[in-house]
């Protein structure tokens, strides 16, 4: 009896693993197909611009507001600890480095997955459920070139822009708390920041991270939508999976990228 139960559990685990690997392969194939058929999304760049509007411009509000609050909280929390060591002027460095290197790309990617990734998955899943994608194929229009690729490139373009804006607005928020509210010297705030934030090592690496996150988040959202069972429940599950998978992928990739960038 126990043995039977154990056997069933094991086979379930195995089936789950095989399913995951199958999905990984299918996702990789979709990524490849997107890359080779993305010529049209550049020839008819208007398609991509339209998607940049939906994924990027419409995400601005949530990104900027959360950046502002994240920056303010960082300054408050950082000041509380730094002033114990008598180095409260280093608050500018703390806020800037935390935002540019980590929080900017990562929090933006998480918000992006929630705001834009879900929308992409639901849209494509519904297109599939209502057989719009099949209709395109019938008309000899490749749905990958017409629907998937423009959304992919839009995500790749929008993500670094959003992350850069996040860092900038976060630093402004940190400035507002540190200088007018707490009373840290403004000159020390900016000059310490400038002395310790490196253009290539910190800022460009952060931008590179956000490009990678953009590829990962958008691709996961597209795949989940493209792969969703064409039912209401299937689309809803795919949307949930988009958020879960992209968040985990972003955090995991962040560790890998950071360990490459901070070469010890």
């Amino acid at each position: 009896m126990v043995l039977h139960k154990l056997k069933r559990m094991l086979s379930k685990l195995g089936a789950g693993c095989i399913n995951k690997i199958w999905r990984l392969g299918a996702g990789g194939r979709l990524f490849w197909l997107t890359l080779i058929s993305s010529g049209e999304s550049f020839r008819r760049f208007r398609l991509t611009i339209r998607e940049v509007y939906f994924t990027g411009v419409l995400s601005l509000i949530i990104i900027l507001v959360s950046a502002f609050f994240v920056g303010m909280v960082l300054a408050l929390q950082g000041y509380h600890t730094l002033q114990k060591y008598g180095s409260s002027e280093a608050i500018g460095v703390l806020v800037a480095l935390a935002l540019v290197r980590e929080l900017g790309p990562v929090v933006t990617a998480l918000l992006f997955a929630g705001r834009a990734g879900t929308a992409i998955t639901a849209e494509i899943g519904l297109m599939k459920a209502t057989e719009q994608l099949s209709a395109m194929e019938m008309m000899a229009v490749s749905p990958i070139a017409r629907v998937i690729a423009p959304r992919f490139w839009a995500g790749v373009i929008a993500m670094p822009v959003l992350a850069t804006l996040f860092s900038m607005v976060g630093i402004l928020g940190g400035y507002l708390v540190a200088v007018p509210l707490i009373g840290v010297d403004a000159g020390a705030f900016w000059s310490q920041m400038q002395a310790n934030v490196d253009w290539e090592y910190d800022i460009l690496n952060g931008v590179f991270k956000s490009v990678v996150f953009g590829v990962a988040c958008t691709m996961i959202a597209l795949f989940e939508g493209y792969d969703a069972p064409p039912t209401a429940e299937g689309v809803s599950r795919a949307t949930t999976r988009t958020v879960v998978t992209s968040s985990l992928a972003v955090l995991g990739l962040d560790f890998i990228l950071t360990s490459f960038m901070i070469a010890v």
Partner: protein
Amino acid sequence: MERTTIDLWVGIFVALGFAALLGLAMKVGNLTTSSIGQTYLVTANFENIGGLKPRAPVKSAGVVVGRVSEIVFDPKTYEAVVSLNIDTRYNFPKDTFANIYTAGLLGEQYIGLEAGGDEVNLKNGDKISQTQDAVVLEKLISQFLYSKATESDDKPGKTAATSTESGVDALDASPLDKIGK
């Protein structure tokens, strides 16, 4: 090709992104301040570099005149060979003294150059022969404790701390005496 409001918004969006990147570069990063133009390379050997890192600043009279480009270990002399990129605008005499200092008590370490009096200037590829190692806090403390112990063992009044460890010879006893008194 007719224009739509979406194009306008996307244009604004991308322009904002570039503006933010520019802002990060100018206001937050040190792209403007640390741009050292043409540089020449000199090397200096140290017995102990402490916590000196590549890209640490090279300062003279407190002004950044260059950066540390590379630190390697010389297996023949068992010394650290530190390469310095110095701005070509600044020339230093051949007998310039290179010290490793610490900014603040726990701050980052940097190289301080003290100009000598030689007529000939350092050129690309030259070696600074006069160097002083980094101050290692543990050695300083152990030396201080040691001198305290000998002081109480012998007789008070004999204050000159005898430095026994080679790394701190250059320090002499002056800072220790101050702490001791």
